[in-house]
């Protein structure tokens, strides 16, 4: 089944074209990569998918339903979660609260329940908490549940962010440069973690990544964009030897 289908996605920022005619289709359980030089428009694609930008043109549909024009929280409620290039955790809240809060769209109790602490409220809060604790457990973050993210190492913060994204029970996970800023030892661990998430949660993952090692070892399929235009698509091997890709990354004179 097709999870995500993007057709003719185009984005202009005050007259400047950031993305042109972008198409992609992600199938269930796929792990796909999106690469390209700095400023190529990769994050723009993610911002469009997650509803943070409204596209100038094009259609995004998720599990067969169009999600273009929805607000970010609605997109998340549909089942797309993401992480950020520069970690964006709520730094003054505990790690546990961070994870719990990402279930905000599926709380399923009203203001009245909240003020009167009804049975429904208490049950749902317990369930949310249990799910969060479970996630912390499998991410081996149990010990830091009551810590504030700002006091954690960069690597742990990345992990918390991924756990937070998963807590909304997404069917598609967008990872925006998960390996950015990680020391190489942690990168190996991250590769294992993503592979494990992919297998364990049975979700589709689409990732932006700069480090070739990560994309090449994880993704079954890679899209390369440069200046907002797709320049290549294919398996890691095909991409590695694609002349346009080499040109985009290394410049003309290298050839």
């Amino acid at each position: 089944m097709t999870v995500l289908k993007i057709t003719k996605l185009t984005q202009y920022f005050s007259g400047l074209r950031a993305l042109a005619d972008f198409n992609i289709q992600l199938e269930e359980g796929e792990l796909v990569g999106l690469i390209g030089p700095n400023g190529a428009g990769k994050t723009t694609v993610f911002n469009l998918v997650s509803g943070f930008y409204q596209p100038t043109e094009g259609v995004i549909s998720f599990l067969g339903q169009p999600i273009t024009g929805l607000k970010p929280h609605q997109v998340t409620a549909h089942g797309i979660a993401r992480t950020f290039q520069n970690i964006r955790l709520w730094n003054e809240m505990t790690v546990l609260d961070n994870i719990m809060l990402a279930q905000h769209s599926s709380l399923d109790y009203g203001i009245r329940d909240l003020f009167f602490r009804t049975g429904r409220y208490q049950r749902r809060e317990r369930e949310i908490r249990d799910l969060a604790m479970e996630l912390l457990e499998i991410f081996k973050l149990r010990e830091v549940a009551e810590e504030k993210p700002k006091n954690l190492s960069y690597g742990l913060q990345r992990k918390v962010e991924i756990a937070r994204a998963l807590s909304s029970k997404p069917k598609l996970l967008l990872l925006d440069e998960p390996a950015a800023g990680l020391p190489s030892r942690d990168v190996v661990e991250l590769i294992d973690l993503i592979r494990w998430i992919h297998r364990e949660f049975k979700i589709a993952i689409w990732m932006i990544e700069h480090q070739m090692k990560v994309v090449m070892s994880l993704c079954s399929r890679i899209t390369v964009i440069d200046f907002g235009v797709v320049i290549a698509e294919g398996t890691p091997e095909e991409i590695q030897h694609h002349p346009d890709v080499i040109k985009a990354y290394l410049g003309d004179d290298q050839l």
Binding site: S50, G51, F52, K71, P72, H73, T76, A77, A81, R82, F84, R88, L89, W90, N91, E92, M93, D97, M100, L101, A102, Q103, H104, S105, S106, L107, Y109, I111, L114, F115, R117, Y121, E125, I128, R164, A165, S168
Partner: protein, 338 residues
């Protein structure tokens, strides 16, 4: 069990003590009024804290919403339960005033909550200092609107609320306002506390810390802002209704930007996002205002000066963003604030 009961029992004992002391005039009217002001100010500061502390906006027009609550509930209670020059004969038998009064207060709160839309709706598109201006403008708009409604006294002010109190006292001779202020203060605190300690309400704390992340990680930020602003201004409205009935007279001037400044001072003195901080600073601030009363005009030099000095020593307010139970963990046995 201990945690569940100790606080309500203590509060009930406190209420009873104050009521009995007031009933037998052990504490005079002046002290009673100060106690009432403490309660009202607690509602004002903790409700503003919801927006300015927990949600991290900078609302400087809180007094506008206090005014809406004060006027709406005053006009309602005067029209419903008293013989008035403008509104004529009481619409309901005055002996029901003691039942009707809390409803009238709630009506004032609801009206103020809707006035909060004036600020909440622009907050979808703008935040920070631009929103601050909108709140100031809203404060001015509300005040000038009241000034221009002649039926409720315009710039002269509105009175007659004492007669409502008398109507209540005709039924039972007890210090009614102490009861009402106490009740509504406690209810407000409970409402705020339950709100910000629920996962739902924590959405506004997420907005404060990273609005973009909040929206993308499933928080409907516009809806949360709407709720927080309406809850905050609604509670301010209830505080306004109580204030109007304690004083027995309201005047648009008493809800100008200076009143908003007082509310701001209490919030930042207590610490942004700390409920116990807001309570503590409301108590301190109210007492300070009264203690320095003999200084007359110098009071308004001394208090700001004191606050400036205080902020130099504690640039995050008395409590920072912590609660009393974070500083004294033993208190957690009796109550939990988070």
């Amino acid at each position: 069990m201990k945690q569940k009961l100790s606080v309500p029992v203590a509060l009930l004992a406190l209420l009873m003590t104050v009521m009995v002391l007031a009933q037998y005039e052990v504490i005079d009217l002046y002290i009673q009024t100060i106690i009432l002001f403490v309660g009202i100010n607690i509602i004002i500061s903790s409700s503003l804290n919801l927006v300015n502390g927990h949600m991290g906006e900078f609302s400087c027009g809180h007094a506008g919403f206090i005014a809406v609550g004060a006027y709406v509930s005053s006009v309602l209670s005067v029209a419903l339960f008293t013989q008035d020059r403008v509104f004529g004969a009481p619409l309901l038998p005055p002996q029901y005033a003691f039942i009707g009064f809390p409803l009238v207060l709630l009506a004032g709160g609801i009206a103020a909550a809707f006035a909060g839309l004036l600020v909440a709706l622009p907050s979808f598109k703008t935040r920070g200092d631009y929103l601050a201006i909108i709140t100031i403008a809203a404060n001015y708009i509300i005040i000038t609107l009241i000034i221009n409604i002649d039926k409720i006294g315009g710039a002269r002010g509105f009175m007659g609320m004492k007669r409502v109190i008398f109507a209540m006292e005709d039924v039972a001779e007890i210090p009614w306002m102490i009861l009402w202020v106490f009740l509504f203060t406690i209810l407000s605190i409970i409402a705020i506390r339950r709100f910000v300690s629920s996962t739902y309400g924590k959405g506004i704390i997420a907005i404060q810390q990273d609005e973009v992340a909040a929206e993308i990680m499933s928080v409907n930020t516009n809806k949360m802002k709407l709720i927080a602003f309406m809850l905050s201004s609604g509670l301010a409205g209830i505080a306004g209704g109580l204030y109007a009935h304690v004083i027995g007279y309201v005047n648009p001037k008493s809800f100008d930007i200076l009143k908003s400044t007082e509310a701001l001072v209490m919030v930042y003195l207590g610490g942004m996002g700390s409920i116990t901080g807001s309570i503590l600073s409301a108590v301190l601030f109210t007492l300070l205002l009264e203690l320095l009363r003999p200084l007359q005009i110098i009071k308004w030099v001394a208090i700001p000066l004191l606050l400036i000095i205080l902020m130099q020593f504690r640039p995050e307010g008395i409590m920072g963003n912590r609660e009393l139970s974070d500083i004294f963990p033993r208190l957690k046995k009796f109550y939990r604030f988070k």
